[in-house]
Amino acid sequence: MSDEAESGRSLVSIRTMEIATAIVIIAFAAVVMISNYELGAGWDSSGPESGYFPFYVGLILLISGAAILIGELTEVIKGRPSGGGSFVDTGPFVQVLRIFLPMIVYVIGIVYIGIYVSTAIFIGVFMVWLGKYRVIVAALFGIGIAVALFLTFEVWFLVPLPKGPLEALLGY
C-alpha cells in the first residue's frame, strides 16, 4: 500500500453537492408526477387509480426536494457559498474512481465475456494494481475465485450466471 492518497484540494463542496442532489431529486419527482398523471391519478369508485399513489409520492418528493434546495440557497445568499466543508477532496476522489471505473468495466465485461472470466481478470488486476501483489499470485487467486464461483453456482446449485465465449468453448 505504498500510494496512500494525499488529501489534495477540495474538488467540490458539500453545499454544491447538496444543491445538485436537490435539483436531481426535483427533476426525478417531476418525471414521476408527469408520467403518473398521464396514467390516471384520480380516485374512482374502485379506489385510487394506477397513478394515484406514485403521483402524490412524486408531489411530496418535489416539495421536500424544493425545501432542501431553498434551505441551501438561503445559505448561499447569506454569503456562505461553500459552507459545510468539502464533499470530497481530489486525492480521495481519485481513490474512489480507482475502484469505481474498474467496476464499470467489470460489469460491461460481464455482459460480453461472462461473469467468470471478468471476475478473474477484475480480481487479478485489482490485486496487482492496488495491492502490489505479484502477478502470479494475483492470477492464481483471481482464477481460483472464479472457479469456486463456477462450481458453486453452475455445477452445484445449477444457477446459470452470464457466460461468454470461453464457457461456450468448454461446452457450457
Binding site: 444457477v159 446459470p160 461456450a168 461446452g171 457450457y172
Partner: protein, 333 residues
C-alpha cells in the same frame, strides 16, 4: 373439417419425413435452461420443477436441466428472454395463459408466433368455488344471488387482466351479474382469502383449492369445461372431481382451460423439437407424473405439431376476443 384433417396428415407426413432423414438426431449441446415466466411456488413453477425432478430421477436427459424464474412484468421478462435467444434450442419455456394475456394487456411486444411450439403437456381446469359456509349449492343459485345485489359480491383472482379476471368478465357478460374483482398475487392467497371470507368466490385451479375442499372449507360449484373432469376417485367423503357439474350444465355456458405447454426459442430446428417431444413423452409415461397430474386434476391432453399450433392459434384468438369485449386491451399509443 376436412381441411383440418388434411393439414394434420400433412403435418404428420412432414414430421415422419424429417425424423427419417435426420440420421443423427439432435441432442442438447449444453445445460438446458427451462424458463418459468412466473414466480417460485406457483403452478407453472411446480410443474417445471416436477419435470426437472422426473427427468433427473429417471435419467432422461444427458445434460443437466436448470429451472429459472423470470417473472417480471407478468411474465414478460421470461418471454422476452426466450424471444431474444433466437435459434437457441437449449432453451425452453413453460407457458401459462400469460403467453396470451400479457402482451394484450400491457402492449409488451411478443406473441406466441415468436416461439417454436413444442408440446402441450396438460390443460389446467378452472372451478368456481365458494366458501362452504355459504348456502349456495349450484352455480345458478350463486349467480342469481350475485345478480340480485350487483356490486356486492367479491371475486378474488390471481393478477390483473389475466385468466381469472377474464373468466370473471365472461361470467359478467353472459349473465349480467356484476362482481367486484379483487386481484391478488397468487392462487394460494386467493384461496386463503376465500376461506377467511374476505372474498365470496374464486375461479381457482383444482390444485390451489383441493386441500381446503377436502377439509370442508370451500365448495366447488362448477367446472369451466365442456365435459366433467375424468377423475372419479373420491376426494371428499362423497365427491370426486368427476362429480362437479360443468358450468354449462348449470346454465353458465363458459369454457376456459389454461395451457400448460412448452415452447422453445424462435427458429429452432425440427429435430430439436422432436427431441423435446420425445423427452416429454417419456416424462409423462412415468408413474411420478401420473401421480402429479392426478393430484392436480389436470386435463390430460398431450398435443404436438400442427394440432398443437392450431390449438394455440385458436386460444390466442379466443383471448383476444374475450379481452377486447372486457376492455382489457392495452391502449394503443
Amino acid at each position: 373439417m376436412s381441411l383440418k384433417i388434411k393439414a394434420l396428415t400433412l403435418g404428420v407426413g412432414t414430421a415422419l419425413a424429417l425424423s427419417m432423414t435426420a440420421a443423427n438426431a439432435w441432442e442438447p449441446t449444453r445445460t438446458v435452461t427451462f424458463v418459468v415466466p412466473a414466480g417460485t411456488g406457483g403452478g407453472a413453477d411446480q410443474m417445471a420443477r416436477e419435470i426437472q425432478g422426473v427427468a433427473a430421477k429417471h435419467n432422461l436427459l444427458k445434460q443437466p436441466m436448470v429451472v429459472i424464474n423470470e417473472s417480471g412484468g407478468a411474465g414478460a421478462q421470461g418471454f422476452l428472454d426466450v424471444k431474444n435467444s433466437k435459434g437457441d434450442a437449449n432453451k425452453i419455456i413453460i407457458t401459462l395463459s400469460n403467453l396470451f394475456t400479457t402482451p394484450l394487456a400491457t402492449g409488451v411486444p411478443f406473441s406466441w408466433q415468436d416461439f417454436t411450439p413444442v408440446a402441450m403437456l396438460e390443460l389446467d381446469e378452472f372451478v368456481l368455488w365458494v366458501n362452504a359456509d355459504t348456502p349456495y349449492k349450484t352455480a345458478k343459485e350463486y349467480i342469481d344471488a350475485v345478480k340480485s345485489s350487483p356490486g356486492k359480491f367479491k371475486m378474488g383472482g390471481t393478477g390483473s387482466k389475466q385468466e381469472d379476471q377474464i373468466i370473471t368478465a365472461a361470467i359478467e357478460q353472459q349473465t349480467g351479474a356484476k362482481f367486484i374483482y379483487v386481484p391478488y398475487k397468487g392462487g394460494g392467497t386467493v384461496n386463503e382469502q376465500l376461506v377467511g371470507k374476505h372474498i365470496d368466490s374464486t375461479v381457482n385451479n383444482p390444485i390451489e383449492a383441493v386441500a381446503n375442499w377436502r377439509a370442508g372449507k370451500v365448495r366447488p360449484l362448477c367446472v369451466f369445461d365442456s365435459e366433467r373432469m375424468s377423475y372419479t376417485a373420491k376426494i371428499t367423503k362423497d365427491m370426486s372431481w368427476h362429480d362437479i357439474p360443468t358450468c354449462k350444465e348449470s346454465g353458465l355456458d363458459i369454457e376456459y382451460l389454461m395451457l400448460r405447454g412448452i415452447f422453445s426459442s424462435p427458429d429452432v430446428k425440427q429435430d430439436a423439437v422432436d427431441y423435446y417431444v420425445d423427452l416429454f413423452k417419456k416424462v409423462e409415461a412415468t408413474p411420478d407424473w401420473k401421480d402429479f397430474t392426478e393430484k392436480a386434476a389436470f386435463k390430460q391432453t398431450f398435443m404436438t405439431g400442427d394440432k398443437f399450433k392450431q390449438w394455440v392459434a385458436d386460444a390466442a384468438k379466443l383471448h383476444h376476443d374475450l379481452m377486447e369485449k372486457a376492455g382489457f386491451l392495452a391502449k394503443k399509443k
